[in-house]
Amino acid sequence: MAHQSLVLTMMKNDKGGITLLSILLALIILVPSLNLFVAHDSVFHITTYTLTLLGKYLCFALLAVALDLVWGYCGILSLGHGAFFALGGYAMGMYLMRQIGDRGVYGNPELPDFMVFLNWSELPWYWQGFDMFWFAMLMVILVPGLLAFVFGWLAFRSRVTGVYLSIMTQALTYALLLAFFRNEMGFGGNNGLTDFKDILGFNLQAGSTRAVIFIASALALAFGYLICRYIVTSKLGRVVIAIRDAEDRTRFIGYKVESFKLWVFVVSAVLAGIAGALYVPQVGIINPGEFSPLNSIELVVWVAVGGRATLYGAALGAVAVNYGKTYFTAALPELWLFALGALFIVVTVFMPKGLVGLWKQINKKQTKGPASDSSKAIQQGDD
């Protein structure tokens, strides 16, 4: 009961969040059942391709929510969040590689194909343990979390802020991109990790496995949202917004600003890592391209399009932009990057509060009453 009432008070005044969670619940029930139990020729049938595509969108949405936590609420514009996503993905990929066992092209029971190809004789130390699912899942959380901790500790302690921090995060993801491209790193070089077979003994190509991973993604997004929502409605959330709006003031009323930034940054990186880990089994590959700086910038565009400092807006933006991307890259492949650039300009110039802000504006005009202004994301009952 205590937990229930906690969730209730938290979600009070959060129409967008309730909508998001309701949609997720509907997706969890409808999409897998329409995929598995409805005949293929029925109009209501959802293909496994669509199911996987939706699952991918959900992972992106979780990633966007994670970025919104640090950017929208704490004002840290990270242009390297793709790195945490990719690291989570690599941790999952390593587990999936070990699951292949001796079914690889070279039939080596221990080594993944690319290591045999490179004439390696034994598994590097950092691949040990990844045959165990729990260990891999622990790494999904620990590796991005630890990197964020070290990077954030150094950066925030030195009071690096604003555009300098953004450039450093960009450099971080670029450095990782270059490192992971190298064969000697032992992560499959530019081919990355692929050709996955099983997860926990279930065939990855099977429709039912796909459905379960889809459900897991939806649940991860729901829990990720709830965790972020809890954070931003707590006093810590108010401190974090205070840091965004007046960092010096926050410091002089006695908060150790660096610790708060670091904490939020690490939480966000962990969520991004989880999103990456769920993404990899659905797309079937993870390669250094995921570290590319462009990915992280696209991610920022999703959040901006959806609406900063709303959390659910970030999820909306991620799905909307990625749907656009899927459509454009199929219909007019040459135009996608132009469309993305134009989108960014249009959003920053004409709707700084994103789709959520636009919708609220329209809503306000229609009602024209003294509607309680909820355009600022931080409104929540103080008592």
């Binding site: 954070i231 707590s234 006093k235 810590l236 108010r238 401190v239 917004i241 205070a242 709006d245 007046a246 010096d248 003031r249 926050t250 410091r251 002089f252 009323i253 006695g254 908060y255 150790k256 600003v257 610790s259 708060f260 904490w263 600022k376 931080i378 103080d382 008592d383």
Partner: protein, 287 residues
């Protein structure tokens, strides 16, 4: 942690080893310099600033500044632009480290080796020149954030207000006269109201010493009177240092006035004495 701090202090690269250095503790020696939370004002003086010098790229912002503030005192500090008033506040609150000299809070706390948040916890509150409040928080939330509490990360995440704390916030809202606007976002306040809110935020920290930088800049006369009343009411329970340009305002509140000039104290005394002092006239009032 204290051992670690001590070690860090020994390893500091901007000074010679601690044990080589001649200790210049004011009055009571022998106690460790950093004892947060134990404000010792048994000698009646709350702030010691002694021989502080700060230079930026060769420009001496503070030049051998020495200043004492008594407990419960309301002190006004005036001086022409560039006299070092804001730099002095930066040194006291830990934002700027002095090149030489000491600053003690009470007998025991060495402010020059404490960080901003430690100094805030020890009981020094600071109001900036430009009103700095949290624009997208309500008045209530602004005060709540400033309130003296466990301000580490995890306790903050799970913090909730109890009745006593609510009362305290309500009290402060009354003191600063914003009790009817508790749910309003601070960005909607007028300039004067923002200044009061910031003073209220300082009060929420239960500070012993308030540093107030130009509280009446840009205020109307009514607002100025109200601010003067607010500050004189707070003096006594708190020690207050006001840096101000507005002479009428200083005259209306000042007990003791310190005149700064080129980074050091030029004269100190009552407002009347200052107005007749020829040196002060020359650098400041006479123009």
């Amino acid at each position: 942690m204290r051992e670690l701090d001590r070690l860090r202090n020994v390893m500091r690269r901007d000074q010679v080893f601690d044990f080589v250095q001649e200790k210049r503790l004011p009055f009571s020696a022998g106690r460790h310099s950093v004892t947060p939370g134990e404000l010792d004002i048994s000698h009646g003086t709350i702030l010691y600033v002694e021989n502080i010098s700060v230079s930026f790229d060769g420009f001496k912002a503070l030049n051998d500044l020495t200043l004492y503030i008594n407990d419960g005192e309301l002190r006004c500090i005036i001086g022409p632009n560039g006299a070092g008033k804001t730099t002095m506040m930066d040194v006291i609150t830990g934002k700027t480290r002095p090149d030489s000299g000491v600053a003690y809070f009470g007998q025991t706390m060495d402010l020059t080796c404490m960080s901003e948040y430690e100094i805030a916890h020890a009981g020094i509150g600071r109001k900036f020149q430009k009103p700095t409040i949290f624009p997208f928080h309500t008045i209530f939330q602004n005060l709540e954030l400033a309130m003296a509490a466990d301000k580490r990360v995890w306790p903050t995440l799970f913090a909730s207000l109890n009745g006593e704390q609510r009362e305290r916030i309500a009290d402060v809202m009354e003191i600063i006269g914003l009790q009817d606007m508790r749910g309003q976002e601070a960005t909607s306040l007028s300039h004067g109201q923002k200044q009061w809110l910031e003073i209220g935020m300082l009060l929420m920290q239960n500070p012993r010493l308030l540093l107030v930088d130009e509280p009446v800049a840009g205020m109307t006369h009514q607002e100025m009177d109200k601010t003067a009343e607010l500050l004189t009411r707070l003096a006594g329970d708190h020690s207050i240092v006001v840096v101000e340009h507005d002479m009428d305002f200083v005259r209306s509140i000042a007990e003791t006035v310190t005149v700064l000039h080129e980074g050091s104290v030029l004269a100190e005394g009552t407002m009347q004495e200052m107005q007749t002092d020829p040196r002060v006239k020359e650098v400041y009032l006479g123009e």
